[in-house]
């Protein structure tokens, strides 16, 4: 069967069971959009900015576990994807981006809307391809999906010149996607697994430190079983939230800069860290040389570059978290567990209950209260996407996540403007779930145009703006470390007295429901109304302006140098 390049792209996407693509057309992708016009299997979400398209594909991928797909035209269309690709790369999210390119004979000619897309996106993708022959298309797309979803997942970009979208060739239905330089290790080495397990069983004061790898490999059940049967406390990174039930008594919160006292206490005093799909990010370790001084590190990761990168690993196991944890559970099932680190675990849990997260409970409308109310009124079942900043930390701290893929956040790159489009992608993947976008007034305005996309496609998300009229996280640092010199952070009008803009009116301009909540007493009623509403709701919670995220470890300090700010 002879097909055009554009038809081959769509056929190949169907072959990968893609049901949605997010994107915007332009001169160099018109042939592809023309074929999309009559395609019945793939639904296009026309976004209002290509960055929105990339984040929607990312949110869709995080919520569903499938590969998210976005499409953009050449030049500015492609460059607008860059932040979205970098966001996905740092958080290991499977995504495929397809970009149009100027006609092959014009490539390198400074043609209209030409950019060196593969050059620009090289450092922000797991792999990228420039198609030079229509015959390569089918196989390249198969390889792109294979690369995106396997090993340590990540975004892959395919750049397709417009003439190749029009060129015709025989469609290769079952292309070979073997890549000789790419063979991810799934199964862990049996001897390594055995010695890892020995070390964990021998430890007096072990702690499990798990991250996003548990979620991407679907190893949450295995992790939970292992932790419970050995009685070891669990701390989860920002990317790992939901990999172990947030309501379990062994859960001690997140470690690091805005981590709990208990998690940081456990890491600094343990004799063994069992790292599962986590990469010892600088926000976790604080000052590396003072990090976990007594700990031996046992680490499972599918990516060998994550082993001994920041913190030396004594016993590495390279493999898929789920497969390796299963191998461990298999060994454990044949053994009697005689010793549990009961004294140590008790001590950690004591710190956890004595030094629980808190905030001032007075009559002031505080952001943490809003999040707790949402937790209560959604019975903890909502999927929470976030923007980036103070609200993101509060969303992690004051909502408990029992399920993987329930907390959707830009952890590695810390991309403001991520939350709203990601939430739309999440809702598309999980139409039956309540989806929140916990946001700040700053980041909401970075991709606010996507309210139009939500409206047009009848997507319901609740945009929870914890409006403090400033770039709160930077303001917090300026308050604590720069003598309250609030340089470039106040988002209100010149006097910064009022809250501005009027988000309620903005929502209404898009044909959506807008609400303004100024008092603590109005919170519950407003949330109930929002939950009952049909379409997207924008809620402007005008909260205390100088609220701080607590606890806090100052940048570059050891993680037991904790400031209590609440």
């Amino acid at each position: 069967m002879k097909l055009s390049g554009a038809e081959i792209i769509l056929k190949s996407l169907e072959r990968e069971a893609v049901d949605t693509i997010f994107g915007i057309p332009g001169g160099s992708v018109i042939p592809l959009f023309d074929k999309l016009y009559s395609n019945k299997k793939i639904k296009l979400f026309l976004t209002r900015h290509e960055q929105g398209a990339a984040h929607m594909a990312d949110g869709y991928a995080r919520a569903s576990g499938k590969v998210g797909v976005c499409v953009a035209t050449s030049g500015p269309g492609a460059t607008n994807l860059v932040t979205g690709l970098a966001t996905a790369l740092l958080d290991s999210i499977p995504m495929v981006a397809i970009t149009g390119q100027v006609a092959s004979h014009l490539v390198g000619n400074d043609a209209f809307q030409e950019a060196d897309t593969t050059g620009i996106t090289r450092p922000v993708t797991k792999q990228n391809f420039l198609i030079t022959d229509v015959k390569e298309l089918s196989r390249t797309i198969a390889q792109a999906f294979y690369l995106a979803r396997t090993g340590r997942p990540g975004p892959v970009l395919i750049d397709v010149p417009v003439d190749i979208q029009n060129a015709v060739c025989e469609y290769d239905k079952k292309p070979d996607c073997v890549i000789r330089g790419y063979k991810p290790n799934f199964k862990g080495h049996p001897r390594q697994i055995k010695s890892a397990l020995e070390a964990i069983m021998r430890a007096e004061k072990p702690v499990i430190y798990a991250g996003g790898g548990v979620i991407s490999s679907g190893a949450d059940k295995e992790l939970t079983q292992l932790a419970r049967s050995l009685g070891i406390p669990v701390t989860l990174t920002l990317m790992g939230i939901g990999a172990f039930p947030g309501t379990d008594k062994l859960f001690i919160g997140m470690p690091g800069m805005h981590g709990t006292q208990a998690a940081n206490f456990a890491l600094q005093n343990c004799d063994l860290i069992f790292a599962v799909g986590a990469r010892f990010d600088d926000r976790v370790t604080g000052k590396v040389s003072a990090f976990a001084p007594h700990a031996k590190v046992v680490q499972i990761d599918i990516d060998p570059t994550s082993i001994s990168k920041n913190v030396p690993t004594e016993i590495p196991v390279v493999g898929d978290c789920k497969v390796v944890l299963r191998q461990m559970l298999e060994i454990l099932s044949k053994r009697k567990i005689t010793k549990k680190p009961a004294v140590w675990t008790k001590r950690v849990l004591e710190v956890s209950s004595k030094k629980a997260l808190m905030y001032k409970k007075d009559s002031v409308l505080r952001p943490q209260f809003v999040i707790e109310k949402f937790y209560e009124l959604t019975k903890g079942k909502a999927i929470v996407a976030t923007e980036v900043g103070q609200h993101q930390m509060w969303a992690e701290q004051f909502f408990k996540y029992d399920k993987p893929r329930q907390f959707i956040t830009s952890g590695g790159l810390g991309t403001m403007g991520y939350g709203l489009p990601a939430a739309i992608g999440v809702k598309r993947a999980c139409p039956g779930k309540e989806v929140l976008d916990i946001a700040g007034d700053g980041s909401t305005q970075m991709n606010i145009q996507e309210l139009a996309t939500a409206k047009v496609y009848g997507i319901k998300v609740i945009v929870v703006i914890l409006n403090n009229s400033c770039l709160g996280m930077v303001r917090q640092w300026q308050q604590l470390f720069y003598g309250r010199r609030y340089s470039g952070v106040l988002l209100g009008m010149a006097d910064n007295k009022s809250y501005w803009p009027d988000f309620k009116k903005v929502a209404e301009a898009y044909g959506l429901t807008g609400m303004r909540i100024e008092k603590k007493s109005g919170v519950e009623g407003a949330i109930k109304k929002a939950l009952a509403a049909k379409g997207t709701v924008v809620m402007d919670f005008q909260v205390a302006k100088e609220e701080n995220v607590s606890p806090m470890v100052p940048g570059g300090a050891p993680i037991d140098h904790i400031l209590e700010l609440a």
Partner: protein, 159 residues
């Protein structure tokens, strides 16, 4: 510490940029890099010489291995290997200096490629230390132009 690494890579556009990007993204300076064909038609071989501590190097080797376009990486750190560089050097050679330069060339088994009324161009292959030694001897005559191809390396023995 100087390290020599070889990488077999897919022979296609963009691969060199991906590899050099790995080094530049880590502020790692490449001392020499060569690319050439191999016994397999669609595989190229790169030889990269870098300076850096062991830990950084270990990370670079892992990152190289991670690239889908890289088929195999050889780190010569723990291996016996042979390495050679090639140098072309154009040196000032007045009538009186000519025979001395030819003598140096003979001792170091350099080929004389070209000669003019006041220059001699030599070709020299060998280990870096040898190349540097010859350079030192020729410098007093005045070096007009010098170019080196970069190191290529291979393991010793059957491997």
């Amino acid at each position: 510490m100087k390290h020599t690494i070889a990488a077999m890579v897919e022979n296609r556009p963009g691969v060199l940029a991906k590899i050099s990007g790995l080094f530049s993204a880590r502020a790692f300076n490449i001392m020499s890099l060569t690319v050439g064909e191999t016994e397999i038609h669609d595989v190229s071989r790169m030889t990269i010489v870098v300076k850096g501590d062991d830990k950084t190097l270990e990370q670079v080797v892992k990152q190289l291995n991670k690239l889908p376009d890289v088929i195999k990486v050889i780190d010569f750190k723990n291996e016996e290997f042979i390495d050679r560089d090639l140098m072309l050097i154009k040196v000032n050679a007045s009538k009186s200096a000519r025979s001395e330069i030819i003598e140096i060339a003979n001792i170091f088994r350099a080929n004389i490629l070209d000669m003019s009324t006041d220059t001699i161009t030599l070709e020299l292959t060998g280990k870096e230390t040898k190349l540097e030694g010859v350079l030192k001897l020729l410098r007093p005559y005045g070096i007009k132009e010098m170019v080196r191809a970069g190191v290529v390396a291979m393991s010793r023995g059957r491997k």
